[in-house]
Amino acid sequence: MDTIQFIIGKFNYWVYVVLMMIGFYAMIAKRNLVKKVVGMNIFQTAIILFFISTSSKMGATIPIIQSGHGDAADHAVNVAQYANPLPHVLMLTAIVVMVGTFGVALALLIRIYREYRTFEEDEIYETLEVMRLKK
């Protein structure tokens, strides 16, 4: 019973850990470079979800006093009743970084494809070996 409580009570962390491990698995075990990049993206997204989930609260409102709907305006004064906006802001920056990394990785993939005509790691190393032997 305790274990179930433990899993359900902290399910947001479980989701992030599982997602992160899926991404990590793809980065390590997949031999296709595109799949590695996708795994990398899942890995980063998991961390973003972790940050966002730490700031969420049951029944909390947005942290804006002015023009809040109904009694939301009163709630926003009390720390316990509004969602902490800082993790969201941090993650905006992290998303920008993530997009940047993704872009650089894809650009590298284009150059790798132009050079080796494949995304499979094994085939690339085969080509390299052939080139080395030719020398």
Binding site: V37, M40, F43, Q44, T54, P87, T101, I112, E115, I124
Partner: protein, 506 residues
């Protein structure tokens, strides 16, 4: 003394990067002098910041006037003012070197983008150095890394593949660091280093804090290529263009090591990192592995830049060993070694670049009789090599001296022994190189003595003195002068700067 110099240290190269791109689109030739001007002003600003720190103590610069726990703060003390000087000076000297080397190794239209990214890399490094906010460090870390991926990928051969591998592993490292930040934030609600220093001691037994610390350490170890997480480094730094190798080898790992010091001794108390957790012991063994493994691998390589890469891995081991012994001498040695190693590595990689520029040779076995063709370069190479080995008049000796003292103070006799053993192995690496250069039999050369004057003059021509151009040799001279002067004045450096950088509790 400019009141805004801490912020300008980051803003100048950042704005410079954008302007460099625009300027380059108008006239490509303007990029080089512009980059020199920008990096020159960074050097002046970093010395200015150091002046303020020396005369007025720690700088706490508030960006936009926001109070520390809420706004981002730049926190500059003796330690990071010192690192900022290293980063800006090395990047300035490497930038001087870059002109001919880049024209030789890159397509013309890529030069503008090269300099733009070069400035972004320096922005990231300086930002990581001066900031006093853990999340801000992550952002600058990623700016540095992204610029690094791009710069490495423009190299030839397998550079793209090496860069891709670096992207994957570097991202894992950065993500681990980010997770550490997230864990700390979820228990303390703060991102400011000085604020966290006050909040954390009560939470040292919290599992979340312990996990955060572990994530920080593994993430940074990946970023500084600490053995056994070094696999991305040799390929990436070998296939990168010479200028890029010189810059990243000299600065990126060093700034990472600085962040590691900050996390271990400022964010967490030395007591936590050394006694409460066995982190220091783990790092000590890992560093010992790096020192021995790096040197053994360096012995086995033939590509000159690859040899240097493995020596760099060993040097990272020295720095981390200095951090891990956790006493005054060890820490002094680590900080001094950051400076010395940056100068030595920049010097050696620039020499490798100069040799490649003139002769197109990458492998050591091709270097036979190089001293006849490039005597000055070879002399510089030998001085730098002597320093890496650690022979007294050069700077490499003094930092290793402090590191050995630190290991002895901590009663880690085995680590002190390993340090000396690995220095000996570096000596073998460079001795092999010198032997190849001076004494290797050259099959064509031996016979030409007996034959007619025609082949003799051909021989003369082959060995005619032909040094790299002045724009490449002057930076090498500056670095060689640095190696000698830093050795002579290392006492002054320790007494004016580093002794104040040693954390409290040592």
């Amino acid at each position: 003394m400019i009141a805004q110099s801490p912020a300008l240290l980051v803003v100048v190269p950042l704005v410079g990067a954008v302007l460099c791109l625009l300027l380059g689109l108008i006239r490509r030739e303007l990029c080089y002098p512009f980059v020199l001007a920008i990096l020159g002003s960074c050097v002046i600003l970093s010395f200015d910041v150091m002046g303020i720190v020396l005369s007025e103590g720690v700088i706490r610069y508030r960006l936009g006037g926001w109070e520390p726990p809420w706004g981002i703060e730049y926190l500059i003390d003796h330690l990071n003012a010192f690192i900022a000087i290293i980063v800006s000076s090395i990047s300035f000297v490497v930038a001087i070197f870059s002109r001919k080397s880049i024209e030789h190794e890159l397509a013309k239209e890529k030069i503008i983008y090269f300099y733009t990214i070069f400035l972004l890399l320096v922005t990231g490094l300086l930002g990581m150095t001066v900031t006093g906010d853990v999340f801000n460090i992550y952002v600058f870390l990623e700016i540095t890394s992204l610029a690094g991926y791009a710069l490495i990928a423009i190299g030839k051969d397998r550079a793209v593949l090496a860069s891709f591998e670096y992207v994957v592993l570097g991202t894992v490292g950065a993500c681990f660091y980010l997770l550490g930040v997230g864990y700390l934030y979820s228990v303390t609600g703060s991102l400011n280093i000085m604020d966290l220093t006050l909040l954390l001691p009560e939470l040292y037994t919290s599992k979340v804090v312990l996990i955060a610390f572990a994530f920080f350490m593994v993430g940074l170890a990946l970023k500084i290529a600490l053995f056994p997480l070094h696999v991305w480094l040799p390929d990436a730094y070998t296939y990168a263009p010479s200028t890029v190798s010189a810059l990243v080898a000299a600065t990126m790992t060093k700034v990472g090591a600085y962040v590691m010091m900050r996390i271990m001794f400022t964010l967490f108390e030395p007591y936590f990192s050394i006694e409460f957790l066995p982190m220091a012991a783990i790092l000590g063994w890992v560093a010992a592995g790096a020192m021995i493994f790096g040197c053994i691998q360096a012995l086995a390589q033939t590509d000159f830049k690859r040899v240097l890469c493995y020596i760099l891995i060993a040097e990272v081991g020295y720095i981390v060993l200095g951090i891990s012994v956790g006493n005054r001498a060890g820490f002094t040695g680590a900080v001094l070694h950051i400076l010395n190693d940056a100068v030595m590595m920049a010097c050696l990689f620039m020499i490798a670049g100069a040799i490649y520029y003139k002769t197109g040779m990458r492998h050591i076995y091709e270097f036979a009789h190089l001293h006849k063709k490039m005597p000055v370069t070879v002399t510089c190479l030998i001085i730098a090599a002597i320093s890496v080995v650690g022979v007294p008049p050069t700077c490499g000796f003094f930092s290793k001296w402090y590191l050995v003292l630190g290991a002895i103070d901590a009663r880690q006799w085995f680590f002190a022994f390993l340090l000396l053993a690995s220095s000996l192995m570096v000596a073998i690496v460079f001795f092999k190189m010198v032997q190849t250069i001076f004494f290797a039999p050259s099959p064509a050369g031996e016979e030409s003595h007996d034959h007619g004057s025609a082949s003799h003059s051909h021989e003369e021509h082959k060995h005619a003195r032909d040094e790299a151009p002045a724009s490449m040799m002057v930076p090498v001279f500056i670095m060689v002068a640095g190696i000698l002067l830093l050795g002579i004045f290392s006492g002054e450096i320790v007494s004016t700067v580093i002794q104040y950088a040693v954390p409290k509790g040592f």
